[in-house]
Symmetry: C2
Subunit: 333 residues, 2 copies
Amino acid sequence: MMARRPTIRSVAEEAGVSPTTVSLVLNNNASAIPEATKERVVQAVRKLGYRPNPSARALSSSQTHTIGFITDVIASSGYAGRSIAGAQELSWANDKVLLIVNTGGDAAITRAAVDMLCDRQVDGVIYAAMSMCGVDLPEALLQIPTILVNAYDRQSRFPAILADEELGGYTATRTLIDAGHRRIGMLYGVPEVDAGRERLIGHRRALDEAGIAFDPALVRADCWFPEGGYRSTKALMTLDEPPTALFCVNDWVAMGCYEAVKELGLSIPGDLAIIGYDNHELAGLLRPGLTTMQLPHYDLGRKAVECLLAPAGSVAPNAVIRLPCPLIRRQSV
Amino acid sequence: MMARRPTIRSVAEEAGVSPTTVSLVLNNNASAIPEATKERVVQAVRKLGYRPNPSARALSSSQTHTIGFITDVIASSGYAGRSIAGAQELSWANDKVLLIVNTGGDAAITRAAVDMLCDRQVDGVIYAAMSMCGVDLPEALLQIPTILVNAYDRQSRFPAILADEELGGYTATRTLIDAGHRRIGMLYGVPEVDAGRERLIGHRRALDEAGIAFDPALVRADCWFPEGGYRSTKALMTLDEPPTALFCVNDWVAMGCYEAVKELGLSIPGDLAIIGYDNHELAGLLRPGLTTMQLPHYDLGRKAVECLLAPAGSVAPNAVIRLPCPLIRRQSV
DNA sequence: GTGAAAGCGCTAACAC
DNA sequence: GTGTTAGCGCTTTCAC
């Protein structure tokens, strides 16, 4: 036989007041209630170990203190986990909790997930994409405060929190320039990936700003995995005037560079400085450690909750908030 | 002005029955209700687009259709994400949803998380650890069906779902033996890590079974990162009788092997066959592709939900369920 | 300042 | 077979 949990009534009796008073005190609506009464209530709560029943609270107030978190892909690299961690930490600090749904990118599941979150009356919804992209989300989300993470709504109906990829590209290349390089190549990703395109734009801005002419011969597309980085590095380094520094669209590509450089008997950063992007788990374990730009997934998640918690209307529906990618300095530049 | 959602009453009126009947039909307790009535109810539900209010349902039935999922570390490699994906998929198929809390390994947060999950009356709790280990969990969990993933309770109060690391070690080494190797080394992790120890035990069992004497000279401890794999491989390969195959305690270590082997001018698998563990994101991108054992995180998460959903009492509190690590064949053996 | 009372939307015991 | 009724534990309006 299990001891029943104390209810607000039992607390009220213990404190010699009515349930209303207890409720008022517990919800900080007690401006009109004298300290002495408050204190009695608080004591009773403590004595009984009372904890409000969230279901009951939700039913009568329609507030669940729950935030829905939808991810398209959760299972690959730890990025989703980092956004979740960021979102959860701030939620938790505000007595809210995350209801997580992973859709696998399936539109039908996304729709069902949104319906479910509406049913459950979550206080807000965060939609987080694995890799930055435009998305079309179900209409039903318009009913709930919603914010996108690492994605933007194609119809600009919801605010978006994004990594500032352009600035990241700029910073990466700028770092190379500041280290004295003038012939700087970029191993640029596939055109379908938005992030890669923006990093390239930042790259060119840094070049422009430093008065370095952009040399198309030093940019290689089609790099996304180590293999591509390997091949492109070999190609670039056998040019008549090879680059002295390389900005890789991601750390995988940089790993391919490393291999090529080693095979060529060259040294990093002596013969070729390398900067990556993503701060992959292995970046710090490479020899030499890979200097790279970190994706601010944790911050994105945190910021999303911050926006959701902000007073209604303080974030415009079409707002786009860009968070910087910190530079992680290691030994490859 | 927002349209209110239909309630069970409105459905009842629409169908010309009482709310009870609707409830009965919707909860499959309608054995006594004739098809015709059922049909009318179903029609009314469809017409109104009725969806039950989970908070109300939870309040009166004390069933939230929610499973609590506690992780110690969610933010690093994608493992946690895979367990979550596995758990969520099966939950979802059973109309349940995951409430996720990440504790960062902090005991106080864990305690608070458990209390919160009790408050919210989750139907069950899954506690998932990042790397396999013994844990001490709050008493309060005894109130709720609880199951551990990739961890075991030091007091054996809860069932555990684990990867069968011993069998994995056995299979890895067995794979090497089957490929014709007799001098097989192991780059074994740090003793503090349970998983590494068990993989070593499996390794020795495979050796024994094949009638190969265990040679301590071929086992190197202190490998966990690429650096360790690199150093140990160099050491082993300069032995008078170097191994022809190596079982690495994880894929990071195997990556270090790769580097050493290349520097020595040897080839994989010609001069040295290598098998790793974890099926790291990069394993398939290495040249040659790394043969490795996959950690069944997805399955662990899924199995946990399966146990939670099973009729009470069908999983003994001290049960330990071990799931095999599949062998991922690539080109390094 | 505090309390009584009416729900929130649903389930389930019991009555018919 | 179906409906009536009494909660589930809390919030909130309104009266005192």
